[in-house]
């Protein structure tokens, strides 16, 4: 079973995404900020994909991505930035994420993006555009 870690300070958003992704057969972990996510990873958790919000208390998403890319044990993790910031693309590119989704993302687009990264289904990423954040 593929696993996904949701890193977002908005608990309602986490619970909705979690419910939907679990319905699709993914295992889902939640972290309310970058620091908590990093603790899980240091304890040995290795999700197949991290969905990372940018603006969070304690440790923001860009810092989390950089910390992951610096650590040889976890630097290979797939990171997808999910943010409503207007400069999300640049932020995602500069912190080493594999791509970004601009909030608000519809369920269909989210699922397509997730499958594009870790599922067998690499179908269209849709209009919300999971890009490589170049």
């Amino acid at each position: 079973m593929k696993s996904i870690m949701l890193v977002d300070d908005e608990s309602d958003l986490r619970s909705a995404v979690r419910t939907l992704l679990e319905m699709e057969g993914f295992a889902v972990h939640e972290a309310e900020n970058g620091r908590v996510a990093l603790e899980f990873l240091n304890q040995g958790l290795r999700p197949d994909l991290l969905l990372v919000d940018l603006m969070m208390p304690e440790m923001d998403g860009a810092s989390l991505c950089r910390a992951i890319r610096r650590d040889p044990l976890i630097c290979g993790l797939r990171l997808l930035v999910v943010s409503g910031r207007h400069d999300a693309a640049q932020q995602a590119a500069s912190c080493g994420a594999d791509g970004f989704l601009g909030k608000p993302v519809t369920y269909e687009n989210l699922l397509a993006a997730v499958r594009g990264y870790i599922g067998g289904n690499s179908g269209s990423l849709g209009r919300s555009g999971a890009g490589t954040g170049e």
Partner: protein
């Protein structure tokens, strides 16, 4: 020669034309009022211890000059310092201070150094005369001299002196002008420095304000978009959980929730985009782009929505690429907005996107078969918050920011947008963009 006392002050013959200088024991001389005020007449100081000779000289000169008399060098010096003389006529051999001593003293005093001196010399004084001329006396007459010769020589000297005074006055006033100019230059330099300082302060304030605005934009953007996304996903959760015992009312409620979320999302994106453009952050990166590829992508994306409204949507492109150096994201937003508008305001028929190349321009045309826009309204449609439907009879969603954003973006890309419309037949928006934009993003 006789003693100085001979030049008595009660000598009536000299009154009026010759000012009798007082003896050494008395106070310094002042010029009579008529001399001080007669600026037109040159003034001559005669320095002569022989009263008769002095009187003779005064008589000779008085028709042309205001004449004053001193009986020796010392008196003369005091008179010269206190008054204003154009020419000094001096004897050589005098008690207390001789003529040559007077000349030397005058040439050492900057106040007197410019007054010409005419020496009355005796025939035997050749060597002394030469020395005096070297020391700064201007001219001489040899006793006995004729009245005409004396008068002519004094006139020459006076004229030289007056000319020189005039030139010096002119020079001084020019110096004053220069000083004034220098003062003005330095004042304006100071003013400019102050203005520069004020400008720097204003610029810093503007930069700070811009940074604050950018932070606020990001924060608001995050704070609104996260719950919006959450709402949309919750609706999706409801829809999927409810599939088993789907009651039509529940599904309709979920549809309505979805539509609301989607409209809010679009509206919010518009408002943010508008704020971003107003903040001068409209453009990001310029790249090479094929207008045809962009047009096809945008048309493909709009196809489901157009199909849903029963509209056909086409894209007409030339065989080859139409390359532009531009900001792809900004241009995509422009075209997507125009196409979205066309689909939104067309009830039946088709929407066409056409691309063509024209010398230094790439041209995009978006044509619909909608209701069209009245000529009177064409000017207003690019203004922010203008919608042609009255608010009470509004059928189409939106706040009227789309075209304002489009116009601002096109202009930021160095291009131009035009609109033609025939009410009842349709509307064409035409965007012309330079193939190599001279305007680079900040």
């Amino acid at each position: 020669m006789r003693a100085a006392a001979d030049a008595g002050q009660g000598d009536d013959a000299l009154t009026g034309t010759l000012l009798e200088l007082r003896t050494a024991t008395e106070a310094p001389i002042t010029l009579p009022a008529h001399l001080a005020t007669q600026e037109a007449r040159a003034t001559v100081l005669v320095v002569e211890d022989n009263a008769e000779l002095a009187r003779f000289i005064a008589e000779v000169l008085s028709p042309d000059f205001a004449v004053a008399h001193a009986s020796d060098g010392e008196h003369a010096l005091a008179a010269l310092v206190g008054g204003s003389f154009d020419v000094v006529v001096t004897d050589l051999m005098m008690p207390r201070m001789s003529g040559d001593q007077l000349v030397t003293a005058m040439r050492m005093d900057p106040r007197l150094s410019c007054i010409p001196v005419l020496v009355l010399s005796a025939k035997a004084d050749d060597a002394l005369r030469s020395r005096l001329l070297r020391q700064g006396a201007q001219d001489y007459v040899t006793k006995p001299f004729s009245a005409e010769e004396l008068s002519a020589r004094v006139r020459n000297l006076a004229s030289v002196k007056r000319t020189r005074d005039l030139l010096q006055g002119e020079l001084a006033s020019q110096e004053r002008d220069l000083e004034q100019l220098a003062r003005e230059v330095s004042a304006s330099r100071r003013a400019m420095a102050d203005a520069n300082k004020a400008m720097a302060v204003a610029r810093d304030a503007a930069l700070a304000a811009s940074a604050v605005k950018s932070r606020v934009l990001n924060l608001v953007s995050h704070e609104v978009r996260s719950p919006l996304m959450s709402l949309g996903l919750q609706a999706a959760v409801l829809r999927r959980l409810g599939v088993a015992d789907a009651r039509p009312e529940a599904l309709r409620a979920i549809d309505s929730l979805d539509r609301g979320v989607s409209r809010l999302g679009e509206l919010f994106s518009m408002l943010l985009e508008r704020a971003r453009i107003e903040g001068g952050n409209a453009l990001s990166e310029f790249r090479e782009l094929d207008l045809c590829v962009l047009a096809q992508e945008v048309v493909e994306e709009a196809a489901p929505k157009a199909g849903g409204r029963g509209l056909a949507i086409h894209c007409h492109c030339p065989a080859g690429p139409v390359m532009l150096h531009t900001d792809p994201e900004a241009l995509r937003l422009v075209l997507a907005n125009l196409v979205d508008n066309a689909v939104k305001y067309t009830k039946a028929g088709e929407v066409t996107v056409a691309v063509c190349a024209e010398r230094d321009y790439g041209v995009l045309q978006v044509t619909d078969s909608g209701v069209g826009i009245a000529a009177a309204d064409l000017e207003r449609i690019f203004e922010p918050f203008v919608q042609l439907e009255s608010i009470d009879h509004k059928h189409s969603p939106g706040v009227g920011l789309g075209l304002a954003i489009v116009r601002d973006l096109v202009s930021a890309l160095g291009g131009h947008i035009d609109v033609r419309s025939l009410p009842g037949q349709g509307t064409t928006f035409e965007v012309r963009l330079p193939t190599s934009a001279a305007k680079l993003p900040a």
